[in-house]
């Protein structure tokens, strides 16, 4: 997969999430299930590395990019992580005008709730993976 395609794939995950770890379900869908670029174990390791390092929680995607395509992948992942943040500039202007509308606010709220529930479903898989790893070492 080209670096540009990798960037677009990660951008799809980061731009549709509303928290650092919110992109996890989409990342798993695209990188593990659909394209098999990384394994479930590497995905879990990326989360661990992301949470072990200081700084933004969403930076775990850099580890995903590295596991998928080495250093070029890490750079593509960094770009995919920072791109959505620039949306805050037009949002800052637009939301001051539109956020008071109940339907707009309700749609945004529903997306935030859905991303939290999706995150909870990812946690179950991560916990199973952690116990699998322990079982392999001790069992």
């Amino acid at each position: 997969m080209s670096v540009v395609a990798l960037y677009l794939l990660l951008l799809k995950a980061t731009i549709t999430s509303f928290a650092g770890m919110g992109s996890l379900p989409q990342v798993r869908q695209d990188f593990v299930v659909t394209h098999a670029l990384i394994s479930d174990e590497q995905l879990s390791q990326a989360v661990v590395i992301g949470r072990s390092a200081p700084g933004p929680v969403g930076a775990y995607v850099v580890a995903i990019g590295y596991f998928a395509d080495g250093w070029p992948g890490a750079v593509a992942a960094w770009l995919a992580m920072v791109t959505p943040a620039l949306l805050v500039i037009p949002l800052l202007t637009l939301l001051q005008r539109w956020l008071h509308l109940p339907r707009v606010k309700a749609a945004v709220d529903a997306v935030v709730i859905a991303s939290a529930v999706l995150l909870l479903t990812s946690v179950i898989r991560m916990a199973m993976d952690a116990f699998d790893q322990l079982k392999r070492v001790f069992g």
């Binding site: 980061t14 731009i15 549709t16 999430s17 509303f18 928290a19 650092g20 770890m21 989409q26 390791q45 990326a46 661990v48 949470r51 072990s52 390092a53 200081p54 700084g55 933004p56 929680v57 969403g58 930076a59 850099v62 590295y66 596991f67 250093w71 890490a74 992942a77 992580m81 920072v82 959505p84 943040a85 949306l87 805050v88 500039i89 949002l91 800052l92 939301l95 109940p102 339907r103 606010k105 309700a106 749609a107 709220d109 529903a110 997306v111 935030v112 709730i113 859905a114 939290a116 529930v117 999706l118 995150l119 909870l120 946690v123 991560m126 916990a127 790893q133 322990l134 392999r136 070492v137």
Partner: protein, 205 residues
Amino acid sequence: MPGTTDNVRKPDTPGQMRFETPSLRTLAWLVCYDVNRTLGGLASMELLRRSLGARGWITDEDHALFVAISRLTPGTNILAYCVALGWQLAHWRGALVSLAAASIPASVIIALLSATLARVDEYPVIRVVIAIALIVATLLVLATAWNLLRPYIKGTNAVRTGIIAVVVVALVLMRVPPVRILLVAAILGVVMASPAAPLVAEVDR
């Protein structure tokens, strides 16, 4: 570095106070220091509020606005917060400098850790450490999900949240891709919104 200023933000109205603003170098240093000495999120935002607020570069009202908007911006909240902060202080240059300062150091550390881990993860000790760290990370992700969900399970919002959660879980079980699930949730939110329904912010108050 911190504490040095070299330009002044012009007041929006004649009666307003004059705010000093940091140089791009100082802004980069403060953002880099405050974001990369925590694990991101609200803790970093609070550190930025304190260090920039103490210097008179942002007000508590600015901070509240940046927090709210960053929660509504796709992607990592702290990065959106830093862009909003940089934009307010020095427009495009400030936004880009803040974004780079907040994201590059952590990304370099993570890429180096990934490169190292790929070589050492065959050792049993390392695998045990990874497994334990994974359990901790699982708990932290759980906390992130709870923090997102918490404001929406109060009062009348609980029913709406419950309905959305049930639909999302059903779609997950049906193996619907996450992007489509979020789109369905947005439509559901619009359908369920009634002009009489209180907004989350009002319920919180």
